[in-house]
Amino acid sequence: MNVPELQIKNVSKTYTNNNGEEIHALTDVSLDIREGEFICLLGPSGCGKSTLLRIIADLLEPTTGQVSIHGLTPRETRLQQKYGIVFQQPVLYDWRNVRRNVCMPMEIIGVPKSERTARIDRMLDLVGLEKFGLKYPFELSGGMQQRVGIARALALEPEILLMDEPFSALDEFTREKLNEDLLAIWGKTKTTIIFVTHNIPESIFLSDRVVVLSPHPGRVSAVVDIDLPRPRTAALRESPEFYNYIAKIRHSFEGV
């Protein structure tokens, strides 16, 4: 087996709250992530899953421990513009239409103009929004806005795609549809995806491995390999193996 792309070693994060008490958001988290892997960080609120994602993205610094990506620190990786991020909210810029929203990060990292157009076309096609390029964000539904956010992150051709509960604000039907679409997109791009969620079926359906985090203090309580065949379709959600995984993961939570 080759060297892992991303190594998390003994990472802890401690906050001090307003009363001067120490809050242990993450305690001694270690994890290796392979290149091209789809990994879910699963847990209830307060388990530190978003904190871990933000540490990987260099939006937060760990109190102790290291993260390295192909031997680089998160900061170096971020400065080399290798991350794509999708947030819980679509975080679109209201003053730009869909095409120009997808274009925005490419302007900043300096993708040549001629290539931008081609990439926008390709990405909108990938997320199924090819007809909506000239719409403004407020003209789109929540699900479509989130698709724009995904297209925008993918347009950078990131080495690592970080997704922070991207579908949790959507209704169940839209979420399941977007889960399937995301897998199809991942099948074509093969980027490493780190996906934060609090939804057990979602994490099983999507990932190669589910990292179960438990709160107080935030820690890894289990890592579950999901041995379900790909490509995965909606029918998989009704299979007995799928239910077994749900039961298994439910039992792995500690102290919720």
Partner: protein, 265 residues
């Protein structure tokens, strides 16, 4: 129920007409019933004012432009200063803490008292108008723009950070476009105030401008010109406000389009 464009025109039309009719009646009441011999100064007939407008439009226009152009220039300069101040304060918390009390104090000095001081310093009518208009404008612009900068959502900034955007990009592509509606709120407050302040400066002893017309016509009891000048200055205020509204519509199209959503399939 939404009013159609036609409905709205009817509303405006009826309003205008009622005011004019009411006014005519009141003027007639003053003149013929009360038999007040100052009636034409207290409340002249609207048709008399209109006639003055027609006969005096050139001098009124010239006077109006003298004042309005200086107010406009001061407004632009003040707006720019306000924006720069907001940027500085948003970049540095220390700068904000230092500057803010000064900004508040600056607004406590009444323009009425400040205008003669400024005139005494610069000794030039045009320059005084510009300085006062700028002085009036910079504060609402700075405060509103800063609150715009501050209300940019954290995730929008994180997105910029995650792709290692530099400060210039963050301001040009995120902070400024996001804060445009806030900027226009400030500009809308400032525009009529800048005009008013310039008219006030006229009255300090200028030789031209609409404020001079108001003052001289009052002293010389030419009430028709007095009223026409008062209306001209009111129009100037309304005009300045509407120019800002027009610019806002042009620059913030995403705020003014009707919100129809396209659903997921």
């Amino acid at each position: 129920m939404e009013l159609t464009r036609k409905d709205r025109r009817i509303v405006t039309g009826v309003w205008l007409l009622s005011i004019i009719v009411l006014w005519e009646l009141l003027s007639a009441f003053l003149l013929y019933v009360v038999q007040d011999n100052m009636a034409s100064s207290k409340l002249p007939f609207p048709h008399d004012v209109l006639m003055t407008f027609i006969s005096e439009w050139q001098t009124l226009l010239v006077a109006g432009i003298v004042t309005l152009s200086r107010a406009g220039l001061g407004f632009a300069i003040g707006g720019l200063i306000g924006i720069i101040l907001a940027v500085i304060m948003s970049l540095s918390k220390v700068a904000e803490k230092i500057a803010f009390p000064y900004l508040i104090v600056s607004q406590m000095i009444p323009v009425l008292g400040l205008a003669p001081i400024i005139f005494n310093i610069v000794r030039d009518m045009n320059m005084s108008r510009i300085v006062i208009a700028a002085y009036i404008t910079f504060f609402p612009v700075a405060v509103n723009m800063l609150s715009g900068f501050k209300s940019v959502e954290e995730e929008k900034k994180e997105l910029m950070r995650s792709i290692a955007a530099n400060r210039v990009d963050i301001y040009l592509k995120l902070m400024f476009p996001y804060s445009l509606p806030y900027l226009f709120t400030g500009l809308k407050i400032a525009a009529p105030m800048a005009v008013t302040a310039s008219i006030l400066v006229d009255m300090l002893g200028s030789k031209s401008g609409i404020g001079v017309k108001i003052l001289y016509s009052l002293y010389s009891s030419s009430f028709d010109i007095f009223w026409a000048s008062v209306f001209t200055s009111a129009f100037m205020g309304i005009l300045s406000y509407n120019i800002v509204i027009f610019a806002e519509r042009l620059m913030i199209p995403w705020k003014n389009v009707t919100t129809t959503k396209v659903g997921d399939k």
